[in-house]
Symmetry: none
Subunit: 203 residues, 4 copies
Amino acid sequence: MRKINREKQDKAKFRQQQICRGALKVLKRKKFHAASMREIAAAARMSIGNLYNYIDKKEDILIFIHENMFARIHECFERTFRDYHEPQEQLVAAITELFKTACQMKEEALIILTEARSLGKKNLRKVLQRESEVVGIIESIIVNGIKTGAFKLENPHLFANVIASNLWIIPLRGWNILPYHTEQEVLDYLLFCFFKVLKGAKP
Amino acid sequence: MRKINREKQDKAKFRQQQICRGALKVLKRKKFHAASMREIAAAARMSIGNLYNYIDKKEDILIFIHENMFARIHECFERTFRDYHEPQEQLVAAITELFKTACQMKEEALIILTEARSLGKKNLRKVLQRESEVVGIIESIIVNGIKTGAFKLENPHLFANVIASNLWIIPLRGWNILPYHTEQEVLDYLLFCFFKVLKGAKP
Amino acid sequence: MRKINREKQDKAKFRQQQICRGALKVLKRKKFHAASMREIAAAARMSIGNLYNYIDKKEDILIFIHENMFARIHECFERTFRDYHEPQEQLVAAITELFKTACQMKEEALIILTEARSLGKKNLRKVLQRESEVVGIIESIIVNGIKTGAFKLENPHLFANVIASNLWIIPLRGWNILPYHTEQEVLDYLLFCFFKVLKGAKP
Amino acid sequence: MRKINREKQDKAKFRQQQICRGALKVLKRKKFHAASMREIAAAARMSIGNLYNYIDKKEDILIFIHENMFARIHECFERTFRDYHEPQEQLVAAITELFKTACQMKEEALIILTEARSLGKKNLRKVLQRESEVVGIIESIIVNGIKTGAFKLENPHLFANVIASNLWIIPLRGWNILPYHTEQEVLDYLLFCFFKVLKGAKP
DNA sequence: AATGAATGAGAGTTCATTCAT
DNA sequence: TATGAATGAACTCTCATTCAT
């Protein structure tokens, strides 16, 4: 009995991933609202009717994409905290992982960043809360670093926001950067800039 | 004859502003695609039919908003270059002006940043080109500063992109920052960070 | 200004009648839920989009039909009270008028009687209230007749309900009656039955 | 072999009853067309797939309900003719039984009365035929009574229709009557009215 | 016999855009 | 220039029904 339920859940999860993949295919070409459920269903190789067995509303697809993204982000932090224990190492690792994830999931990131306002109130709150969690974790690493003397910095909360904001530079402004610089260059440059600030004296 | 044409153009400009203001009223509350022409026309205190005397397609409204925004941005640069001649002063002034403009026009900025993908190919190209102009101007100030020895920096193109990207931090992430910091604090902090980098040695 | 508003309202009323007539054409052939808005719009010789300029929801059409019907019913009562003053005459006249109206508007009557349960709570309440008004008026005539000694009857409220219920016998059971009897025969027969009761002694 | 078939049929009958009960649970709350097969299957504690082993189309459920109803009605007549032999007694008994059945099966009655138009042509004919059978039986009792001199009445066919029509007064108009009168009162009143007519002179 | 995932036609409704006035 | 009624394509979502297991 429990096993059957388990299988059912797995199937549902699989279908939801299928829907996400299909939706992403379409969302590369057009905005969420311009992508019709017919297109998404076709891209996911499902009938519309069946698609609606796994979601309630179109908006749910956005939520799935968002959840996928944040699952990936949390994996970044997990690896970081598993492998490193010094704040400086942790910060480098976290930024590197997050930046690379943002590059790999450029589409998803762009969708999340630009479509958030399509969400209903409840979902919007959830999304914003998750984003501020990310900032919170970065902030905590910085605060730790300040305590250990690794960093010298006022206003870690603000700086964490600046870091978080810059992590998405490729999805948002890649069109103007990638013709001239590789992702790795951009990452190195950002790290260089961040550490300039983190190591410095007061203004 | 020419005078009449002139008057006509003025009227058209006036109507376009009226449309922009109306649209913005609506776009504060909902996404572009969710805002119907009915609502926008009502908010602009025009009939739909008349509204269509001044635009061809809904997308044109986005273009108007974008043009307004960039007119404002260019005014920022004009004031900057009129009032300052040293690269360092120019950069501070430009960043300050642009940042404040972004804060004042938070709504417009957010609309432009999140709705760009709604645009048709031709309009999208135009918009992106204008954005990269802004980056170009910032870059030229930096390059100047490097020549005069005011700044010490590799890769001014990349850094200009970083600066440009951070100028929009309030429209994009204000929800997570403004509860804790004022706009002025954020601006000061950004300037502090930027100049840490601009003054520094190689990594 | 007022005149223009008046014209607009007239136009709207006209369109609503047009919709009603179109809907009735369709509703003769199928139940309300089985009639699609497309069919109704076509039967009303309107585009769907325009149809929705005059209604908010499909249910509104049912309400229009109902309002039409009740307007007709009230005209029956108005004529009755204008032309007759003796309770007995009034009752004969009212029953005659209502019965004939029910026969003329067989379709509408059937729709109202069978579709009431499709209505939303608020509209259902309104409809039921109007129906019980009709019963109330009949009851008041009977009560009057009892006072004047024209009728001899216990329980006028219940009898008014019986009368009201039988008025719709043609729309509801015409299929089994009209092959054998004319509407006039049925009316005469009902009047005969009713007056048997109204004139009689206690059971 | 035959026994197995018998068992199969019993099972089928049982399932059909199960479906009826489930459907009725749902149909108390919403109209037939608004009740989805999903809901009905759930209420009948069956899977949709299995439900379709016992019906062909949704409409069949309506037919089952109708058959149940008419089985009950025929039981009424059976008891009547078993227990009474005088036309007057028979008529009182039949009306009493039928009226009480209508009250007990208010929901079913309402469904049948209001959903008949949903039926396909063939089923509709069957339903109407069964209803006119009921009228026919009532008529035959009256005709008998006229022959024996118990009743004095013109047009027994029409009067049978009137009686039949009034039997459903509680399902149809109970909402306006039951707040003020008990079912028994209504029955007594109807009997009183009917016999006023049945005993009387010509109009 | 029993399950429920899958199908896809079709429902109500909205909306950018046009056009007669 | 100004109006807003009219158009109809396109949208999201539901549902009776089928079918592989």
